[in-house]
């Protein structure tokens, strides 16, 4: 093979590998539950700690080494009112709701090892007995990176 032909073959190979590489990023499938945008928030004089499944999450790793996943905790907020913090944890798909002690304040991190991992995402929160009236919202960010 001439040097020019070898160069062309090498460049083609590199392009093919680059294309394969960009298709190999981990992917996430998120299916929010119906409860997600209708969370029970009290405010009626009683205070109840609540654990709610907010989404079914499927993590598809591009390689055999799995992924690292981050899920951000945070607060439900409304304009002019006190924020309502929540904590996050995941449980294996279909397993019972995790206990209150399983939750993590702030960012929740975990790693997967299988090519495809299915989990349920839970939040825990406790509204104040007289939580101020109004509409509360939050956005839970989920990030995944291949190992």
């Amino acid at each position: 093979m001439s040097p020019q032909a070898r160069l062309r073959a090498g460049l083609v190979l590199a392009l093919v590998m680059a294309a394969a590489g960009s298709a190999l990023a981990a992917s996430l499938e998120v299916q929010p539950t119906a409860a997600t945008t209708a969370l029970a928030l009290n405010g009626d004089g009683t205070s109840t700690s609540r654990i709610v499944k907010i989404a079914e999450l499927t993590i598809v790793a591009s390689g055999v080494r799995g992924c690292r996943v981050w899920i951000a905790g945070g607060s439900l907020v409304r304009s002019g009112g006190a924020a309502l913090p929540f904590e996050v944890v995941v449980a294996a798909r279909g397993s019972p709701a995790p206990p209150a002690t399983a939750f993590t304040v702030g960012e929740y991190r975990f790693a997967t090892t299988a090519p495809i991992t299915s989990v349920d995402v839970y939040i825990k929160y406790r509204p104040a007995a007289l939580q101020g009236p109004g509409s509360y919202t939050a956005s839970v960010a989920i990030d995944a990176v291949d190992n």
């Binding site: 160069l7 590199a14 590489g21 960009s22 190999l24 990023a25 945008t37 439900l76 939040i123 956005s139």
Partner: protein, 157 residues
């Protein structure tokens, strides 16, 4: 180094950099807290056994319990007026509230008889108040049973 090897190295670098591309998703959360606004009034026994024969009286007529989850608090209003009976001279009374368990004195009745008494609270919470009236019967008040009704209401600030 051959071009082929160089190309492979470049290709490998592209693979490893793109394999660490971050993938993100979000879940939107939301919920509604409705207004909680409660007023409970427990009428005191003395309210139905008012002394109408011995000059000016200050009497606790009810225990009030109010609750709101409004962070700006609530406003209580109470009507005042007169104790009346058919064909008798009315006995005007004023109203006020004091912190639950405290006693009221004459200086605390700032709203004239017939006017609406109002009280502002601040912040969400439970508020306990005692409702008092002050009245002065005539020296020779016409005999009979005198009655009146105090209307109470709360609204969020």
């Amino acid at each position: 180094m051959s071009f082929n090897k160089l190309a492979l190295i470049v290709g490998s670098f592209v693979i490893s950099s793109s394999a660490f591309a971050e993938t993100t998703a979000t879940v939107e959360l939301g919920g509604q807290v409705t207004s909680t606004l409660v007023l409970a009034s427990a009428t005191a026994t003395a309210a139905d056994e008012l002394d109408l024969m011995n000059g000016r009286q200050i009497v606790k007529v009810a225990d009030l319990t109010m609750t709101t989850n409004n962070e700006q608090g609530l406003t209580l209003t109470a009507s005042s007026g007169a104790l009346t009976k058919l064909n008798g001279t009315a006995i005007p009374y004023q109203v006020t509230t004091v912190v639950g368990g405290a006693a009221a004195d004459a200086s605390e009745f700032l709203v004239a008889s017939g006017a609406l008494y109002s009280l502002n609270t601040f912040g969400a919470g439970n508020f306990g108040k005692d409702l008092y009236i002050m009245y002065t019967p005539a020296e020779f008040q016409d005999p009979g049973y005198y009655g009146s009704t105090i209307n109470l209401s709360v609204s969020d600030n």
